[in-house]
């Protein structure tokens, strides 16, 4: 894929990154091109550049997160930003402070950017109404998780010449997955075809809206999803939601929707992705996780690069008078 962004736009038209639903193909390509350059920093002897020196970023994590939070923190540190971490436990949220009040207090401390993870869809959008800082959505309920989709796109772009005509299947718990939604928006915007596959109990009711965007099809058969597929993205079965009786058993799920070595053998060019953390033996057979065609660790590396790019591209926006 192209390395020189000369023919592209040079800045985002958005002040925030709330989701990929309204980002244009040019904007997504700018983020990916910028991320490729920042990725090179991760392999230098000194893995830090002074780009965001003097910029303060707060990481507001209202929901448990390991890799996304670490990835954002690392991206901020690699760019020399000052960071403040905030997690719901051990803060005044447990004393009953509202998101708005927390945000405004943080704002009063002169922060430039806010990275927010929250269980409620729209929390990131709500924050943009409360504070003048640039807001980056690190996952809001089952709505969107744009930086995850961007790192998935970056990983795919390393393997394929173009997204036009690329066939990507997203398999598993589509209903609870903000990763799936952001990926559908990003992939279809760039011209890829997306197949959503999972048990009907884990398919969202508003799926028709996604299908209406074009380039999206739905199936409940794994074999159908893998036929002609370039990249299979398995989603995590959220074990914490297993009380809700949507699956008879994890073993049955693995039988019907788990990707196994037999699938890799039947489809010799198929690449495997997973946003992590993987439940070995559920979404993916353990051997598949460690297979050379599994790109799971590439995704993690690309996560830091893509977050550096997003932080960099949105860092100038606070100065803009009309956002």
């Amino acid at each position: 894929m192209t390395q020189t962004p000369d023919t592209q736009i040079s800045e985002l038209s958005h002040k925030h990154l709330l989701g990929l639903v309204d980002y244009s193909d040019k904007e997504i390509e700018l983020i990916l091109a910028t991320a490729r350059q920042f990725r090179e920093v991760l392999y230098r002897p000194i893995r830090r550049v002074p780009t965001l020196r003097g910029t303060t970023v707060v990481n507001l994590f209202y929901e448990a997160s390991t890799r996304t939070r670490i990835s954002f923190e690392l991206a901020e540190k690699r760019l020399s930003a000052d960071t403040v971490n905030f997690s719901a436990s051990g803060s005044s949220v447990s004393k009953g402070e509202s998101l708005k009040d927390t945000a405004q207090n943080i704002e009063a401390m002169q922060l430039d950017m806010v990275v927010v993870r929250h269980k409620s869809p729209g929390a990131a959008h709500f924050l943009t109404q409360c504070v003048p800082s640039a807001v980056i959505n690190a996952g809001d309920g089952a709505h969107e998780h744009p930086t995850q989709a961007l790192l998935d796109l970056l990983t795919m772009s390393d393997k394929f010449e173009t997204f036009r005509g690329l066939n990507v299947s997203i398999i598993g718990d589509i209903m609870h997955s903000r990763v799936a939604r952001s990926n559908v928006y990003g992939l279809t915007t760039l011209g890829a075809n997306v197949t959503l596959c999972g048990p009907s109990t884990l398919m969202p009711v508003e799926l028709d809206r996604l299908v209406d965007r074009g380039g999206v099809r739905i199936t409940h058969s794994l074999d159908e999803a893998l036929e002609g597929c370039d990249v299979a993205m398995a989603l995590r079965i959220q074990l914490e939601r297993q009380g809700s009786n949507r699956l008879p058993s994890l073993r049955e799920y693995h039988e019907l929707f788990g990707i196994k070595m037999s699938h890799l053998e039947a489809h010799p060019d198929l690449l495997i992705m997973h946003p992590g953390p993987v439940n070995r033996g559920v979404e993916l057979e353990s051997k598949v996780v460690d297979h050379e065609r599994a790109l799971i660790l590439d995704q993690v590396t690309n996560g830091v690069a893509v977050r550096m790019a997003v932080l960099f591209l949105l860092s100038g926006t606070r100065a803009q008078p009309d956002g």
Binding site: Q3, T4, P5, D6, S10, E11, T34, R36, Q37, F38, E40, V41, R44, P45, I46, R48, V49, P50, T51, L52, G54, T55, A309, F312, L313, S315, G316, A319, Q320
Partner: protein, 193 residues
Amino acid sequence: MESSDIIKAQLMDERDLDRTLDRMARQIVETFAIDNLGSVNVGLIGMQLRGVYIASRLKAKIAAVEGIDIPLGVLDATMYRDDFRLRLKQPVVRETNIEFDISERHLVLIDDVLFTGRTTRAALDALMDMGRPASVKFLVIIDRGLRELPIRADFVGQKVPTFQGEEIRVRLREIDDREGVWLVERNQKEESA
């Protein structure tokens, strides 16, 4: 050339530029006494965007004259710039790719125009983060004066005193529709970051 530029003078045409590069290639060879393969401990670093093409032309000229292949790296100093917070537009981050170890090596940093010296400062900081070169020399096609930092060039194609509001446009056939160097007046209304 930007469509809004008002051309005030052409400083170099294609032949002038080629002669200047010939001379600078010989200066590099002379400075480092590059005469046999055993003593080549020199590297060229082209700065994005046009310094990269100038550097690769110098590399080809040195190879033609001396038969020596000097390693060439590409550097983008955007991440080290000091003016993010003053700008409304974010600059484009381009590729950095230096495949040889710069430590203990004599480097020639190559750019098209030397102006305030701020980009050079950024480039030097970037290089220092990648290793400890034995020395760094600086080569530019045009030194237009108006420095804001104590930075100078070791190899200069042409010194051209300029005013604020004027611009030097170096245009190279590899990426532009013409070749040469022009002094232009910037159209203030169309000014871009």
